[in-house]
């Protein structure tokens, strides 16, 4: 399949899926609170958030297993309201895989095709294609309980892709795999997504997974969307303190904004120059700075601190530097020549996009 043909620029203007003001409550609990987003054709989209943030509920609303209390879902120009799951042109890969234990691998993959009443040779060709795509050709006759976790995961993927959905929903697709297999599978998933040109929507609580796989990420918290952006922007320009803390490792530095020739954040260990500040003079604020964005040097100008301890992490070393009685900063450095108790100087980056007002 040609990935280029799937992304037609003219069609790209119209989103594949529009989620408009979806709300869902379970008794007193709000699962989804006015969620809106769009997914483009051929896009790899990730819904990222801690457990209970509503990401799985949103996915189940799209698949048709839950009915939103309010709002609208439009897929390919067609309102999904009242459409039962078995009529929706979306398929889902379940977190537990939900493979049919009474059928072998081949029949699991063929299940959706048989329901469409396709001709036998068409089904055979399509199943073979998917078994090849998921590297399962030798396992067609196996029963599900004879497969390893990784193989089951691939059967689940092949089965969900078989009917040729316009949108594939993946619920924590890598959650049950061990770390090494997970990375391998991430590449494999991306490759399959490119090859088939299908839009993928993945639900995950694993930030690495979301950042590694998706073209765009929506970070959710307590039923609301905090930010929708590319992985780079999510990481570098988090829209809220929550996003900054949830995605990646960071330092939160509290202080007061002070405008004086340039904007500064005045903290108990010194002033940090701010590149861009919309906040008023004297406002309380929190700055998020990634450990790798702080430069630790043995000498020179900057904020002074003492190395409290360090952890060697292979590609870099993570220092904990005490800058005041109340504050230690985490600093990632490639320089491994720091010793505990050593006085160091910290330099902050010129760009400080992750500044949040106190209430945020």
């Amino acid at each position: 399949m040609n990935a280029g043909s799937a992304i037609d620029p003219a069609m790209d203007m119209k989103p594949l899926l529009s989620i408009r003001h979806i709300c869902k409550n379970y008794g007193d609990t709000t699962a989804l609170d006015d969620v809106s987003l769009t997914i483009a054709r051929g896009e790899f989209f990730a819904l990222l958030g801690p457990s209970g943030c509503g990401k799985t509920t949103l996915m189940r609303c799209i698949a048709g297993f839950e009915t939103p209390d309010a709002g609208q879902l439009v897929l390919d120009g067609c309102d999904l309201a009242g459409m039962p799951p078995y009529r929706r042109p979306v398929n889902m890969m379940f977190q537990s895989y939900a493979l049919f234990p009474h059928l072998n691998v081949y029949e699991n993959v063929a299940f959706g095709l048989r329901r469409k009443g396709l001709a036998k040779d068409v089904i055979e060709a399509r199943v073979s294609e998917l078994l090849r795509l998921t590297q399962l050709i030798p396992y067609g006759a196996r029963r599900i309980n004879e497969l390893s976790g990784g193989q089951r995961q691939r059967v689940a993927l092949a089965r969900a892709l078989a009917p040729g959905p316009t949108l594939l929903l993946l619920d924590e697709p890598l959650g049950a795999l061990d770390r090494k297999l997970r990375e391998e599978t991430q590449f494999h998933l991306k490759q399959i997504q490119r090859e088939t040109g299908t839009s993928f929507m993945i639900v995950t609580h694993d930030q690495d997974e979301a950042l590694a796989l998706a073209d765009r990420v929506a970070v959710m918290r307590a039923g609301r969307i905090e930010q929708i952006a590319s992985p780079n922007d999510i990481y570098d320009r988090p829209a809220s303190r929550f996003v900054a803390g949830f995605v990646g490792d960071t330092n939160f530095i509290d202080g007061v904004v002070h405008h004086q020739s340039a904007a500064h954040l005045v903290t108990d260990f010194g002033a940090i120059t701010l590149s861009d500040c919309q906040l008023a003079d004297g406002a309380g604020a929190t700055l998020s700075i990634r450990p790798e964005d702080i430069l630790a040097r043995h000498e020179g100008a900057g904020i002074a601190g003492v190395v409290e301890d360090f952890v060697f992490r292979g590609d870099n070393t993570l220092l904990r530097v005490r800058v005041s009685d109340a504050m230690t900063l985490r600093v990632a450095t490639w320089d491994s020549r720091f010793a505990v108790g050593e006085r160091v100087v910290l330099q902050f980056p010129a760009e400080t996009p992750a500044l949040f007002a106190e209430s945020a």
Partner: protein, 304 residues
């Protein structure tokens, strides 16, 4: 392959107890029946020739053994009464089992899909008939089914029929009795199998385009096979040898092997023929048991 674990002495004792029980109270009487079935009928008490008498000693055993005969079995196959009774028993039991299955399955499905906090109550209701004597419950059906019974009276009162429908003392009544009495034995294993099923499998089926009916046919039903097999065995096997229900609800045309056996033992005092009939019945029942057992998952394939 894992090596079979060795049994500790405690495990051995625990395992031994039920086997001793079965040996003493099932296998031994069964052998006795087998022996009687090979004996000659005599006018005595007991009404068959014994195999072993203390006075004869071991030497007498051989001469007595030579008196053993297959006469009783010959009777079974020459007297059409027995052949008819077998066929009739198997037919009635098969129809009754099928009807029980058709009644119990939707019932079990509804129970398994009911809210989780309702289920214990529903199981309690399904088992409630056991609180009354089986005999009384079957007897109650006479009052319902007979010509001047409740059902006929109601139908006449409603003007749907003029003359009572003849239900009591028919094959129909026996089947109704069996379905009614054995329903819980079908219901509970099917319920157990359905309740165990992972509901996400149904979601997956719907997601892949299967309508609710197709999901039932392709996922729910095949995955409940174990429960259906267990239920069918639990109903069919006792139904074939059923005595009380055909005796109370049946008529002259509902000849079942249980009644024939009873007559031979207690009315005709022909113990060898009755025993032979019992042995053949046992053989007939082992056949479907083995057949259905083969339909189950191969344990080597079905590891989980």
């Amino acid at each position: 392959m894992k090596e079979a674990p060795r049994l500790t002495r405690g495990q051995l004792l625990v395992l031994l107890a039920p086997y001793l029980w079965i040996g003493a109270f099932l296998l031994a009487p069964l052998l006795l029946i087998l022996k009687i079935s090979l004996s000659q009928s005599v006018l005595a008490r007991p009404p068959y020739r014994p195999l072993f008498e203390l006075a004869d000693g071991i030497a007498g055993l051989w001469s007595k053994a030579q008196t053993l005969t297959l006469d009783a079995y010959r009777t079974l196959f020459t007297d059409s009464l027995y052949l008819d009774a077998y066929i009739s028993s198997l037919t009635i039991a098969a129809i009754a089992t099928l009807v029980t299955l058709l009644v119990a399955y939707p019932f079990a499905l509804a129970m398994a899909r009911a809210p989780a906090n309702w289920r214990p109550f529903l199981i309690g209701l399904a088992a409630a008939p056991f609180w009354t004597s089986f005999l009384i419950r079957v007897y109650a059906w006479i009052a319902l089914l007979k010509d001047e019974g409740l059902i006929n009276k109601a139908l006449i009162a409603l003007g749907m029929i003029d003359t009572p429908i003849e239900m009591f003392a028919t094959r129909f009544a026996v089947i109704v009795g069996i379905v009614y009495s054995y329903l819980p034995f079908m219901l509970l294993p099917i319920y157990a199998a359905l309740e165990r099923q992972d509901p996400t499998l149904r979601e997956a089926s719907a997601d892949l385009g299967a309508s609710p009916f197709e999901t039932f046919l392709r996922v729910t039903l095949p995955l409940s096979r174990e429960g259906v097999i267990a239920g069918v065995l639990l109903v069919f096997i006792p139904a074939v040898g059923e005595f009380v229900i055909p005796d109370l609800l049946g008529g002259s045309d509902t000849l079942m092997i249980g009644r024939t056996l009873w007559n031979d033992f207690f009315a005709n005092h022909d113990w060898p023929t009755a025993s032979a009939a019992a042995v053949v019945l046992l053989a007939l029942l082992i056949a479907p048991l083995v057949a259905l057992e083969r339909l189950r998952y191969d344990p080597k394939k079905d590891g989980s």
